[in-house]
């Protein structure tokens, strides 16, 4: 059961990672990267690490993504 979840989540995180690196639209890429972190936090839960999962979710997928968007936003404003 756990193995199945692990495989699914693992594959999903790799796909998200691939999208994050290869999608042309930066916003999509950033969201995909946030997804990687989200999947990672599920993985941490599987590994009996709720603390890490929480951190990854709040900092890795939350704040980091936000900062990316902030910066992207700034860059877009400048390009306008």
């Amino acid at each position: 059961m756990f193995i199945a979840i692990a495989i699914v989540i693992g594959v999903a995180s790799l796909i998200s990672g691939f999208i994050a690196i290869h999608h042309e639209k930066l916003s999509v890429a950033i969201i995909a990267s946030g997804m990687v972190s989200l999947f990672a936090s599920v993985i941490f839960l599987l590994l009996a690490a709720p603390d890490v999962a929480m951190t990854e979710a709040s900092i890795g997928s939350g704040l980091t993504t936000l900062i990316f968007f902030y910066v992207l936003n700034k860059i877009r404003q400048r390009n306008d």
């Binding site: 603390d51 951190t55 900092i59 902030y70």
Partner: protein
């Protein structure tokens, strides 16, 4: 194209290293020496039910101090890097009209978010979570305030004060550990209390509170600085 192939070749090499590491990895059936020590003695020595917290705040408190320092440094660097031209700051730049909804929602939600954040770090020694997670939550509350009011900048000073004072407090508690307990950042300044209660684990809740405040302030600071950064070419 040649470069791509070269990179793929290199990554194959790195993959080989990882593959060898994977082969060396056997999984674990039992705890290792260090992990076993924490499991057996952590509760008695530190008094925190959450052993991860015990490790972070006490056993490896110096790492955590370094970690907090990194955020502190990042905030400081970002503020002096993005402050390229403070004097050009135009206070009356066109205010983005924020939606009524966001504005009023923030009035209600932000305090709740703050409460949640504080809860997380105060209970860090009992439940999953702690200063960093709580701090991040608080920062997201600040973020919401910034979004609701793009000119929100008054709190910069407050943020800086909170950050500094909690940092100083962290260090002072650490130093008190040298005199009153076993060493720098020893948590046994206060009684360890009963495992699993809110007031237990010595100064861990206090330290984690300061860490939470500090991390929250630092993250807010980073977000705030980036959001206020100027766009002119310097």
């Amino acid at each position: 194209m040649i470069k791509k192939i070269l990179i793929i070749g290199l990554l194959a090499g790195v993959g080989l290293i990882f593959f060898d590491l994977f082969n060396a990895y056997q999984g674990s059936e039992v705890l290792g020496k260090t992990g076993r020590y924490y499991a057996e003695n952590g509760a008695d020595e530190v008094g925190a039910a959450n052993l991860v917290t015990a490790v972070i705040v006490t056993y490896r408190g110096l790492d955590t101090l370094g970690e907090v320092t990194i955020l502190f440094l990042t905030a400081a660097i970002i503020s002096f890097v993005l402050k390229f031209r403070r004097e050009d700051f135009i206070p009356n730049r066109p205010v983005r009209i924020t939606s009524e909804l966001l504005d009023s929602a923030s009035q209600v939600i932000v305090p709740v978010i703050f409460m949640v954040g504080i809860y997380i770090f105060i209970n860090g020694h009992l439940t999953p979570g702690g200063g960093f997670q709580g701090g991040a939550v608080i920062a997201s509350g600040v973020l919401l305030m910034i979004m609701a009011n793009p000119n929100f900048g008054i709190s910069h000073k407050v943020i800086a004060k909170v950050e500094s004072i909690s940092g100083i407090a962290f260090v002072l508690i650490g130093i008190m550990g040298i005199f009153l307990a076993g060493g720098f950042l020893d948590n046994r300044l206060l009684g360890l209390g009963n495992l699993g209660e809110l007031f237990s684990a010595g100064v861990i809740p206090i330290i984690y509170t300061f860490i939470g405040l500090k991390v929250g302030a630092e993250l807010s600071n980073i977000l705030g600085t980036i959001s206020h950064a100027q766009n002119e070419k310097n």
